[in-house]
């Protein structure tokens, strides 16, 4: 096992002059992250609806899209859009745009699955109740399903977005001057990679950590407020579980009120 090299002396003097360049890179990282997160948040919704469609020609392509982007590495997706799209289809996108397209396509797949999970967690009886109260499909989606689904999935959505913010570092492999790319350049120029990449890590952490704290805070609030979409186990489930326990009477029969049922004459 290697011992820790305590002899390494950090030269913090390289940090100050490097900061403007690193902040330039951070600006591009934040710009790309923001565009990708907003676009995915919007595009994920119709994709989730398509994924849940009863019509196969709508559902299957949506599912195929999601699985392709979930089951292949992000770096491969970036490279494919950056290099293969122009070569195969003749679609030439500017470098930054092609990267935004690839990242958005990737995050959209995950966002749609998050939305779908949230929407499907809303108990079907709540939707049927809305139907009985004459709300139409759009109104049920707008007022019953989406608010609950969104509340329930906020922690997951925030986590996905924090991951995406960090995953933008992969774009440095394609030559886009983001935070990681600038760190790479500076490390080569200063010969102090340890200091530079430590600073890069600190900057990523300074952005991501408050976001994860926010995620935890929202999750705690949702749990304590009890306002998440899915309710506690339904009575139906409780009674089913009760029936599964050995020696347990179904609740309906264990009801003491039943003892007061009038006894038929002659029995």
């Amino acid at each position: 096992m290697n011992s820790v090299n305590l002899a390494y002396s950090f030269d913090l003097s390289v940090i100050g002059p490097s900061l403007p360049t690193l902040l330039d890179g951070l600006w591009l990282t934040l710009e790309i992250s923001t565009i990708v997160i907003v676009a995915s948040a919007v595009l994920g919704f119709p994709l989730a609806v398509a994924r849940m469609s009863k019509i196969e020609v709508i559902r299957w392509p949506a599912q195929l899209y999601i699985e392709v982007f979930r089951c292949t590495p992000l770096l491969i997706q970036l490279i494919w859009v950056f290099y293969a799209l122009p070569a195969l289809l003749g679609i030439n996108l500017p470098g930054k745009l092609s990267i935004i397209v690839a990242l958005t396509a990737h995050l959209t797949a995950f966002m749609s699955e998050t939305y779908r999970a949230g929407m499907q967690s809303v108990p079907v009886e709540q939707i049927e109740a809305a139907h009985m109260l004459r709300l139409n499909r759009v109104q049920i989606l707008r007022y019953v399903i989406v608010p609950q689904a969104f509340r329930q999935q906020i922690p997951t959505i925030l986590s996905l977005n924090v991951s995406m913010f960090k995953d933008t570092s992969l774009v440095s492999a394609l030559g886009l001057a983001d935070l990681t790319f600038q760190g790479n350049i500076l490390a080569s120029q200063t010969y102090r990679p340890m200091e530079i990449f430590t600073m890069v890590a600190v900057i990523y952490f300074a952005i991501a950590f408050p976001a994860t704290l926010l995620t935890s805070y929202i999750e705690r609030r949702l749990l304590t407020s009890g306002s998440r979409g899915a309710q506690p186990p339904t009575p139906g489930l409780r009674s089913t579980l009760a029936r599964l326990r050995p020696g347990q009477r179904p609740p309906a029969l264990a009801n003491p009120a039943l003892k007061s049922v009038p006894k038929p004459e002659g029995v």
Partner: protein, 266 residues
């Protein structure tokens, strides 16, 4: 049908097909994945009448309520509502769109929307579906909550309410749409007996004061014996008996009902 359920207490139709029953079904059937769960059900509920549907789980009683509510499409049969044909040979007729609003349904699980408070739960549907103003709806919501003994919970969050309170709010929410027929699917099965009695008492009051017709699936035989005008016993998808409660409990005509009564009385 008459061969399988000879004790059905039938009321003859008039020439118009409307015999005073607010709801009438004839030969309504429903299958799921090829398995028949409801077989040629002849059923009726009059205005101001409580019909209690009893039977083992899977005997078809909830399916009948869901078919009447429009949550399941019937495979066959006719349904009349307020004297008008809403389903013929399993097909919905034009009158269904106009009359479906007269049916309210309350479910076993508490179907209040937890992200809204009680007032919003009560007012959102009439505001969106009926176009009523907020001021008008506030007054109506207070009235509806008073009817179910929940007037002090107008601004409460649904998650703060107990099971019985939630069910009473669910009834108030259904009342906001001014239904003439309330369908209740095992709405008290998760409640303690005193709370269940309170909830079912609300339905009895609505029947007596508002003349609302109620179709109630319940295993609460104490309630069924006291409040029901008719007991409909379901077995294997068939309505085997449709009789007044004293006859159902004291003089069951079919072995199935006799066995069911014996089982729940223990």
């Amino acid at each position: 049908m008459t061969e399988t359920n000879p004790t059905l207490d039938k009321t003859p139709d008039t020439d118009t097909g409307f015999d005073g029953a607010f709801l009438r079904t004839r030969g309504v059937s429903k299958s799921f994945h090829g398995r028949p769960v409801l077989k040629e059900a002849d059923f009726r509920i009059g205005s101001g009448e409580i019909a209690v549907l009893i039977g083992k789980s899977g005997s078809g009683k909830s399916t009948l309520l869901r078919v009447i509510a429009g949550l399941e499409e019937p495979d066959a049969g006719d349904i009349d509502l307020a004297g008008q044909a809403v389903v013929r040979d399993g097909e919905y007729q034009d009158a269904w769109k106009d009359l479906r609003g007269q049916i309210g349904m309350i479910f076993q699980s508490y179907t209040l929307w937890p992200h809204m408070n009680v007032l919003d739960n009560l007012t959102i549907a009439p505001r969106l579906a009926l176009g009523e103003s907020k001021a008008q709806l506030l007054e109506r919501a207070e009235q509806a909550l008073t009817e179910v003994g929940m007037a002090h919970h107008l601004r409460s969050r649904c998650t703060q309410l107990s099971g019985g309170e939630r069910q009473r709010v669910a009834i108030a929410r259904a009342l906001m749409m001014r239904p003439r027929l309330l369908l209740c699917d095992e709405i008290t099965s998760a409640l303690d007996p005193p709370v269940a009695a309170e909830v079912l008492g609300v339905l009895t009051k609505l029947k007596e004061e508002e003349g609302i017709a109620c179709g109630i699936v319940t295993h609460d035989m104490a309630f069924a014996s006291k409040a029901a005008d008719r007991i409909c016993f379901f077995e294997d998808g068939l309505i085997k008996e449709d009789v007044p409660p004293d006859r159902a409990f004291n003089d069951p005509q079919t072995p199935g009902l006799q066995a069911f009564i014996d089982a729940v009385r223990f």
